[in-house]
């Protein structure tokens, strides 16, 4: 249980308590009111015959007034507490839904050319990776140096990025050297060495899209997803924004692709909608 979730629970309990108290108070007051009115009325009746009862009536009226004022004050304070608790609940519940993803894996010594984004180095040990796929891929694509690119492509398709453990396994089992992997994986734009967000958004920046306003689309999406300067993934790691050279749908410019689904003839607003539909 994350601290946010604990806070959300506490706030929820407080909200429920406040509501219960207010309701109870109201019910008590509501049932007491006719009785008190009756008492005052009977005292007033008695006063007509016996003037000495006047202080009694005054005292009774004072007591009732004070009780009601006290209740009003109490309820007002409680209402404020209720509002604050509700706010706290909403805030912490929202954060606990967008729970922080498992920490990102670090890239090994090899520098890479692709826009890595500001991926924080992991503080905890990442969960071990299932490497059996690598063995299958090697069986399928061969062990020669020539199979380096198809292997990397298969690994990237499976894990959605190139995990270091998988690359090490490739080097162990095939003729491909670490130097070759470092060279090819940093040369080709397709390969990434850091994990991607849940959805990959490719905004086309081909010629036709450029003249139809691809820049505005990208800027709007960066703003909308609150992607920090220099990074390509939003803080919650839901969307990775990628600028690509051409998606080949020039007549529908500007175009973007969310996880293989293409949307065309975009405006900044419809680009946002295309993302919302996915999320």
């Amino acid at each position: 249980m994350t601290p946010y979730r604990r806070a959300a629970w506490a706030a929820a309990v407080l909200v429920a308590a406040c509501v219960a108290f207010l309701l109870a108070d109201y019910v008590v007051a509501a049932t007491r009111a006719p009785r008190e009115a009756g008492l005052v009325k009977s005292l007033q009746e008695q006063l007509k015959s016996d003037a000495s009862l006047a202080p009694n009536l005054a005292a009774e009226q004072k007591r009732i007034t004070e009780a009601r004022l006290a209740r009003k004050l109490r309820d007002r304070w409680l209402a404020w507490v209720l509002i604050a608790a509700a706010c706290a609940f909403l805030a912490s519940a929202k954060r606990s839904i967008r729970a922080p993803q498992p920490p990102a894996r670090a890239s090994i010594s090899v520098p890479s050319r692709d826009r890595q984004g500001a991926v924080p180095r992991p503080l905890t040990e990442p969960p071990p990776l299932d490497l059996s796929f690598v063995d299958t891929a090697i069986a399928q694509h061969g062990r020669t140096r020539e199979s380096a690119i198809p292997l990397l492509q298969a690994i990237q398709t499976h894990y959605r990025y190139l995990p270091d453990e998988a690359l090490r396994r490739v080097c162990e089992l095939t003729d491909v050297t670490p130097a070759q992997i470092a060279g090819t994986s940093s040369f080709y734009a397709q390969f990434r060495r850091s994990p991607v967000g849940k959805h990959v958004v490719r905004v086309c920046h081909g010629t036709a899209c450029h003249v139809s306003g691809a820049r505005q689309i990208t800027e709007e999406l960066r703003r909308y997803l609150a992607i920090p300067e220099g990074a390509d993934t939003d803080p919650s790691r839901t969307f990775t924004l990628d600028e690509v050279a051409c998606l080949g749908c020039c007549s529908l410019a500007p175009v973007l692709m969310v996880d293989g689904h293409t949307a065309g003839r975009l405006t900044p607003a419809s680009a946002r909608n295309a993302l919302e539909e996915t999320a």
Partner: protein, 579 residues
């Protein structure tokens, strides 16, 4: 309920799917129609397309179809009572009659089957004389005769450089090495060109047949198709086609394999492509030796573009003369262009060589969108150049285009209107080539970087007095000091725009002004008196630079404005102008 024997085709190429053709297909199928999934017929501006072939042979093309329209179309053609009851007029999408204007001036050789056959069904291709040319090769045409026919047809490489295909094959044939390779280059990285994707997706067997004929001509037993990984549908369709052709034994002893490109523009260059196939970084090497002498794994290799190979079966079926009948003295046949940009009708077009740019833009493209003026045609992508409107009568021909400073290139044709800034266009292409430069040659690696810095400066209004001279010098150095086509042609967009639109560069440099109103740093948005105070712009502004003041004239706060253009797009009264 009586059903008439009709064929219903839905264009399910990448752009069809992008505009919602899958929903249309599902809607048609729910109505009980048997849908034939075809590729792209090139009319991308009208997608999704549904074509209905009636038993009489009449074809009706419905455009911009959505699911409800598809239901009506299915009912109209599949249920007679519906037509009798509701009448013909009820069909919402206007039925385009047999030959729309868009197709009027086109002549289809490469694209003849695109949008008409099911790419995943080999019988469809066979029914259209598919693999007949290859069959003839096996039976009667010796490799020498094939090469002679290709040479006589005048076919030149469609990938950009325009090297005569027959000559390439002949040289590879002459090599003594018993091991030879054929490669189909489908690494179409040029932003704005998608003809190879369309052909591979819509008619993969044609490319396989062309490749098999090439293998027969040069004596190769192994072939590769190098296809961009960004084209998943093309990869899938080609793999399926190889499997089908193999099952039917059509490819003989030829072994074909698809290799996916990994996203490097330079791999369209043949020596870089070979490096990539060998599992290395895709850097080009010095030629000679040419790949036809020492290519893949140091064996003779021919590398042909998808479109070139797609022409080959047609040439052998119809004869070299029929192909050579199209075109000009030096450029024969047809060329496929990806027409895009500000034209009304964009899409994939195939025109005979020699047609003028004006005919393409006005007659096929239907003129410019929103009645704006045609300013220039960007042809050939990042290696090509911008041809201004006053040279629009230039015929499409390898040599005539080269004379203007542009190149034929792979066939991207982007029409630009008066709202497009030429400096920005040059910067766009240079940014692309600069990012895609493999870094091997110093001039390409650093020269393009310096040129880009100058263009960035100009677009931000910080140009220095000698920047234009510097650009010209660098243009010369980079094109002379680079090994491969990427570097040699990288300065072309700058050189042509600087040559034809020098005044725009000067306006950026001296007056700090962008005449087309595109460069964010040099423009401001202003609300004119036409403003009716509807607050649409204030609502659209993502940064709150326009205060929300109903029924009053709005104003843009320049310090907050990011020049995203959303206010101008939102305004219904054209009250937001760029100054």
């Amino acid at each position: 309920m009586s059903r008439r024997a009709v064929e219903i085709r839905v264009g399910l190429g990448s752009c069809g799917i992008a505009s919602g053709a899958e929903a249309v297909r599902d809607a048609l199928e729910r109505e009980g129609a048997v849908v034939k999934a075809v590729g792209c017929n090139g009319m991308c501006h009208r997608e999704p397309l549904v074509e209905v072939l009636e038993p009489s042979g009449r074809s009706i093309l419905y455009s911009n179809v959505d699911a409800p329209a598809a239901r009506l179309i299915a009912r109209r053609h599949l249920r007679r009572w519906h037509a009798d009851l509701v009448g013909q007029a009820s069909t919402p999408a206007a039925g385009l009659q047999t030959r729309p204007e868009f197709l009027e001036k086109q002549r289809r050789i490469v694209l003849e089957n695109c949008g008409e056959i099911d790419p995943l069904n080999i019988d469809d291709y066979l029914a259209r004389d598919g693999y007949r040319a290859l069959e003839r090769c096996a039976k009667e045409l010796s490799p020498e005769r094939v090469i002679a026919a290709i040479s006589a047809s005048g076919l030149r490489g469609r990938g950009g450089a325009g090297f005569p295909t027959g000559l390439k094959w002949e040289r590879a044939r002459a090599q003594a090495d018993p091991v030879k390779y054929v490669i189909c280059n489908g690494d179409e990285g040029d932003p704005g060109a998608f003809m190879d994707r369309a052909v591979l997706e819509s008619d993969p067997h044609r490319v396989l047949e062309g490749l098999a004929i090439a293998a027969h001509a040069v004596g190769a037993a192994e072939g590769y198709l190098y296809i961009r990984a960004e084209y998943p549908l093309a990869v899938r369709n080609v793999r399926a086609a190889i499997r089908q052709a193999g099952e039917r034994g059509l490819l003989g002893s030829l072994r074909l394999e698809v290799r996916e490109g990994a996203g490097a523009f330079v791999c369209g260059e043949e020596t870089a492509l070979i490096a990539s196939l060998e599992g290395r970084r895709g850097t080009p090497r010095l030629r000679p030796p040419y790949p036809v002498e020492k290519g893949l794994r140091c064996h003779p290799t021919i590398i042909n573009n998808v479109e070139t190979l797609a022409c080959v079966p047609w040439i052998l079926r119809h004869g070299a003369e029929a192909f050579a009948a199209f075109g000009t003295r030096s450029s024969k046949g047809t060329k496929v262009f990806a027409l895009a940009g500000k034209v009304n009708r964009g899409g994939l077009i195939e025109v005979p060589m020699g047609i003028t740019i004006r005919e393409v833009v006005d007659d096929i493209g239907g003129g410019m969108k929103n009645g704006r003026h045609f300013k220039a045609a960007q042809i050939g992508g990042p290696s090509g150049g911008c041809i201004p409107a006053r040279l629009a009568d230039t015929p499409i021909d390898y040599d005539a285009l080269a004379a203007t400073g542009a190149i034929m290139g792979s066939g991207g044709l982007v029409a630009l209107d008066d709202r497009d800034c030429m400096v920005d266009i040059a910067r766009f292409f240079l940014r692309f080539t600069q990012a895609e430069s493999c870094g091997k040659c110093t001039f390409c690696r650093i020269g393009t970087k310096r040129m880009l810095e100058i263009l960035d400066r100009l677009c931000e209004g910080h140009g220095r007095p000698d920047d234009l001279q510097k650009l010209e010098t660098l243009t010369d150095y980079v094109s002379r000091g680079s090994l491969c086509g990427l570097g040699q042609t990288a300065p072309n967009p700058v050189a042509t725009t600087l040559h034809y639109f020098r005044e725009e560069y000067e306006a950026h440099l001296h007056e700090k002004r962008c005449p087309a109103g595109r460069c964010p740093a040099l423009i401001r948005y202003r609300v004119t008196d036409a403003c009716i105070g509807c607050t649409l712009c204030a609502q659209a502004c993502p940064v709150g630079a326009i205060a929300y003041r109903p029924y009053e004239k709005h104003a843009v706060d320049d310090t907050l404005c990011t020049r995203c253009d959303m206010c101008r797009q939102a305004c219904q009264d054209d009250a937001v102008e760029v100054v």
